[in-house]
Symmetry: C2
Subunit: 235 residues, 2 copies
DNA sequence: AGTGGAATTTGTGTCGACAAATAAAATACA
DNA sequence: TGTATTTTATTTGTCGACACAAATTCCACT
């Protein structure tokens, strides 16, 4: 419950309700504020946001289309589970998208793209220095998304965005802090190499760096998971 | 108007309305029965299907999420345009997905998967023999989708499905008949090679055949497009 | 006390109606 | 006659209410 965390009150603009609910719910799901399996109740949401069920439902339809919630007919709808059994398919797709988008960025980026990418990199650096883990996850995501946008392929961009979202849920589960070594500094260095390769339009180097970065991330997540699982067993 | 092509009449089951509208509209869009740019009117659809606007809207939200329709706020919603300017990004993604899914199928397929794939291949062969172009498009799509399913990666599968859908629109524009040479026979041979490579679990061969197949398809489509464009100019 | 079945509760699926926003038509004015 | 402004019309966005289905509770009966 945590009281009403929503501004709710004011009269919002006409078509804004759906997007607002969609984005807030999406963030709550990805940040695990709504953990996998939790029930999403239309009526409850309706009077939490101070609107009717219709716009709520449309937001839910959209979330369902993206696989973030599961709707069982005539009965409740719940936040979708994280599919640990097929995690390797996630890693596989994530790696490929890292590589492809970085390659394309090296090929097609403009000067403005590069500025944006560097700006996000600096933002990430700053969040690292501040030790702000939530900010680190957010700026890291933005950095890679901007690279993908510079690649100018909406098909890759949409799949990559979806993968980054799912990754956000995973990262939330295990937090940066649980990773070993000086992760932020390492990622920062890899990001720098990525930017260098893109700026030089060196496709081969971009591919190689992206692959290494993906491997690095995946290894960290897997380590965190196995460590976590071991603890589960030992209890 | 073409009269009422919908069964509409009977009392349908409780949660079935949305899916029904979604699927029919989706098919009509991909078959160009609803050409790009045509206006989609909620009220018209509502009494065509004999239901209220609410389920119609939910179907439209889903279609919009998949990029098949564009909704301008407070005003009409229309079937999305085919983006000829960025067609190369489509081809790029399509080629990659052909390769990746075929590779994974070679790696992970089961005996049942192979049976299914072969069944679809036979169906395609049959449609070719019958000269049924619509059936050819449908069975060809099913063949490749089944291969992707055998690869067991839902991320690739969903992107690939989306790409195959968009491809369906393109093929409808230019039809098989406008392609040169003995296309069906050629594709049939390539499909055979694909199945052989998958069955042999030869990942390298699967990749190579998939890539060749993709190249072949893309070349045909491009030829059809340029030919079409030339005609436009000459008129 | 345990089990089968009827009533109640809870929450979704659908409806018809209204309000807001935009486009089109009509009107006034120079 | 051409342009600015008001009026009308059309279509979307939202609402509150009701119908239906599943889950739960309650109750009778053994």
């Amino acid at each position: 419950m945590t009281a009403s965390e929503t501004p709710a009150g004011q009269d919002r603009k006409r078509g804004s309700g759906v997007r607002m609910v969609y984005e807030l719910l999406r963030d709550q799901i990805l940040d695990l504020e709504l953990p996998p399996g939790s029930i999403v109740d239309e009526i409850q949401l309706a009077d939490r946001f101070g609107m009717s069920r219709t716009p709520i439902r449309e937001a839910l339809v959209r979330l369902a289309a993206e696989g973030l919630i599961d709707t069982l007919p005539n009965r409740s709808t719940m936040v979708s589970q994280i599919d640990f059994a097929n995690l390797h398919t996630f890693f596989d797709a994530l790696t490929l998208m890292y590589r492809v988008t970085t390659r394309l960025a090296a090929e097609y980026h403009t000067a403005e793209d590069l500025d944006r990418i560097r700006a996000h990199q600096r933002a990430y650096e700053e969040r690292c220095a501040a030790g702000d883990e939530i900010g680190m996850i957010a700026t890291n995501r933005q950095f890679h998304q901007t690279i993908a946008e510079a690649g100018r392929n909406r098909y890759y961009l949409s799949l990559f965005s979806r993968l980054l979202d799912e990754g956000r849920r995973l990262l939330r589960l295990y937090y940066y802090s649980s990773f070993e070594g000086d992760m932020p500094a390492l990622w920062l260095r890899e990001h720098e190499q990525m930017v260098t390769a893109i700026a030089a339009r060196d496709i081969g180097a971009a591919d190689q760096v992206a692959r290494a970065h993906a491997d690095q991330i995946i290894r960290q997540i897997q380590k965190a998971i196995t460590r976590d699982r071991r603890q589960d067993i030992s209890i």
